[in-house]
Point group: C2
Chain length 249, copies 2
Amino acid sequence: MSSWNNNNRYHSESSYAPSAPSLPDQHQQPQPHYSNNNNNNAPSNYHHAPPPPSSNYGSGYYGQVSSSSYSFPQGTNPDVIRTFQMFDRDQSGFVDDKELQQALSSAFHNFNIATIRFLIFLFKDPRQPLRIGPKEFSALWNCLGQWRGIFERYDKDRSGKIDPLELRDALYGIGYAVPGSVLQLLLSKYGDGSGRRVELGFDSFVECGMIIKGLTEKFKEKDTRRTGSAKLSYDEFMSMVIPFLVSYD
Amino acid sequence: MSSWNNNNRYHSESSYAPSAPSLPDQHQQPQPHYSNNNNNNAPSNYHHAPPPPSSNYGSGYYGQVSSSSYSFPQGTNPDVIRTFQMFDRDQSGFVDDKELQQALSSAFHNFNIATIRFLIFLFKDPRQPLRIGPKEFSALWNCLGQWRGIFERYDKDRSGKIDPLELRDALYGIGYAVPGSVLQLLLSKYGDGSGRRVELGFDSFVECGMIIKGLTEKFKEKDTRRTGSAKLSYDEFMSMVIPFLVSYD
């Protein structure tokens, strides 16, 4: 039984996850208030005022089909342009998965290739093969910058790792009140498989954040009345989910 | 717009995917009949008589929570027991991801570790960490045997690869009439990312098959009236989907 349906507070616009995380410097960080049902692990019980949506968060399946032109958006940080040009070794105007892995590792964190392919799928022009052009590269770069700010804000003990409670608070801080059971299921995918407490590095944190954000946004598109429920056809359901499955190749 | 909703034939029990693929020797293989709307790439337009469901297909999220006892089901092939014992090197009564990778590679195909972790998640006792006991090992072994039979049946040119049309026919043959758009989306996750025509080896074929089967079964649990649509809460949706996301670690 869904906790949404157990909690009338969740049948309101303001208590639903917002359409996108805001930029770190725009974050509202409400102190979580718990309900009186002693289910303190369920973020669904938060009273939650979501932050304002961000407009420049990703592309591709996020709705905006961006064309991979060879130009960067106006005002793109010159370092981003230089990095793209440095790693677009064949001057194709695109970076493929391996080039992107090197580019992001130089500036952010060492991402494994499966994660890189996942990021490309989230940001690429759907008409393109597994590669991104300047616009998508710039959007991805900005997005990772936002996630890095969020990571640093919620890694309170500066351990370079986010623990499950910090992850829950980080997602909540950007407007995603994710039920504890859902987070637990997601986190069971990480770690060494021993069942020991999971701590997420930046790369896994970004994956978790993008999975929660992306799936929630997809669901919201179908839950137009913000009831916490949506009627989906089989085709819609499959088409919503499959983009979040990585290639196992 | 979902092709289910465009096609009244799909508002019937018999045209929905069955609850599980049958054993290869039980397969009905109806010849696809296309509707007259010239949408010949859409399996949703098949008239489809699903085969009878199989009862011994997997465990874990398939609904039956199987306990990891140290005993094999009665009638387990001695080769399966020997293989389990051979790769359970620490005699723990369980095989972990790396042990399973070696065991399956010795008998079926070289699966990459992400695929192995995915298979474990599908079959393991949810109360267990990332490892499986004799019962789950036996169920997984039987399941892979079924998929191998299906693979060999539909790899008509004996190329050792399944092309997109062969995949569509294979899924249809075991009762999953998957819309072409959904298969195309799934296949875009495979291959070298160049956008060239994808051909699936046995490991990718098993992944695709289990993703389609698993997600379809999950959806069907919510579509009790077999209308091709289901009302899902946010929590239900997230909990249905997350098990199909692999760990990127």
